[in-house]
Symmetry: C2
Subunit: 219 residues, 2 copies
DNA sequence: TGCACTATTGATCAACTGATCAATAAATTT
DNA sequence: AAATTTATTGATCAGTTGATCAATAGTGCA
């Protein structure tokens, strides 16, 4: 009862082991942040010697970058699916805002914030961050363009408006991360801001939402 | 022509030396980010042995935290002064937005973003971050409340609206930090969003601004 | 069965971090 | 001038990080 020193890991196919390492990295990143994705922490979680992680990954910067992409990519896919399920632009937009601001993905927000910071010293990560931001922007721009075509959204530049919207969301989430506790309801006021951004009448988004029965009670 | 090994530092009063160390930390943080504020980097910049930095600071976490507070505190003071110089609420708000989004303080934005990330592992820093966010919020809330009283701003909850506004600003700046280059004009669209947030007619803020001759040409 | 391939590992490195402490040296006081 | 105080330092420690490499041990093939 002393050294819980990991037994030799069973031999697996490179594909399988590689996937396990990626999974371990994803888990550590979600639970403790991207900064905790180290050679040894991942090895420990995967039940493997540190050298094996190094064997499968060109370097840790790359693992951190791919881990970021995996996590954020999954988030984008998930939210994109939720949006696509909504039948109408205003409700799509409301779903987008409510989903991203409901606090259920704070672990992903941590990953985002750390990626912004770490990206300054990890080029591969910085590139991944830009890629995933672009991917988000495409999704949001799609919602806006459809809204312009079908639901009276007003904007000269859907692309720029999408960036603006994303920036607002990211900022509110990052803020909520720090302001634990007394963070009021992020997401209630943003509806007004977005209505202003898109030239919609006050209440247009909230109305579309409550009409769809998506109201949360408290938070 | 080999070892530029620092000569013994001249003896100074604790107050003076302490200030020099704080200055060195401020400089490093602004030029290379908070993560670069290390015992040795600060010692080198201050022209002093690493042990002396440790002698003057209880620990590095505290130095990082106080450095953050110094930098952000100065930013708040500066912007608060700029705002106070404006005679009217709409122009005050416009000045606030334009000043914070003109990209002239990106070095401070880096400090903010890194503080959000590092604060997760540095309690003293996390506390400083909360304090400075509160300080910002007070300033913004003041602008809003005056606008409600004098310039037709509409909001039920000036405090929450101030947080919303800050979140938007932080998010756009953080985003611009990463999206080097193709970051369109942050700050042009935000006027519409803020108008929506405060129940102002479209163009109310931009009009107040250009009327005051504060227009920037390009960026 | 024995050979070849390769997944896996322990040991080890260099580089960096924050921190401590006895020794040194410059002031100030006596 | 001597003693005292204290600013400053070098040396050193323990801890972390990413990375390399020869040695080990499963696995499948001949």
């Amino acid at each position: 009862m002393s050294t819980p020193a990991r037994a030799r890991a069973s031999r697996k196919s490179p594909a399988e082991r590689s996937a396990e390492i990626a999974d371990a990295a994803r888990g550590v990143a979600l639970e403790q942040g991207l900064a905790a994705v180290t050679l040894r922490s991942i090895a420990a979680r995967a039940g493997v010697a540190p050298a094996l992680v190094a064997h499968y990954e060109p370097n840790m910067d790359a693992l951190v970058a791919s881990t970021f992409s995996t996590i954020v990519g999954a988030e984008i896919d998930e939210v994109a699916r939720l949006i696509a399920a909504q039948p109408e632009p205003r409700r799509r937009l409301g779903t987008l805002l409510d989903t991203l601001l409901d606090g259920a993905r704070d672990d992903v927000t941590v990953v985002w914030v750390e990626a912004w910071a770490l990206g300054r010293r990890n080029d591969a990560l910085a590139a991944s961050v830009r890629d995933q931001m672009d991917a988000w922007q495409v999704v949001v721009q799609g919602v806006i363009e459809q809204g312009v075509a079908e639901a009276g959204f007003e904007t000269d530049d859907a692309a720029a408006t999408a960036w603006q919207l994303l920036g607002m969301i990211d900022g509110l989430n990052a803020q909520a991360l720090v302001r634990w506790g007394d963070t009021g309801d992020r997401g209630s006021l943003i509806h007004r801001a977005v209505e202003g951004l898109l030239g919609l009448p006050r209440g247009a988004l909230s109305a579309a939402r409550s009409a769809s029965g998506a109201g949360r009670t408290t938070r």
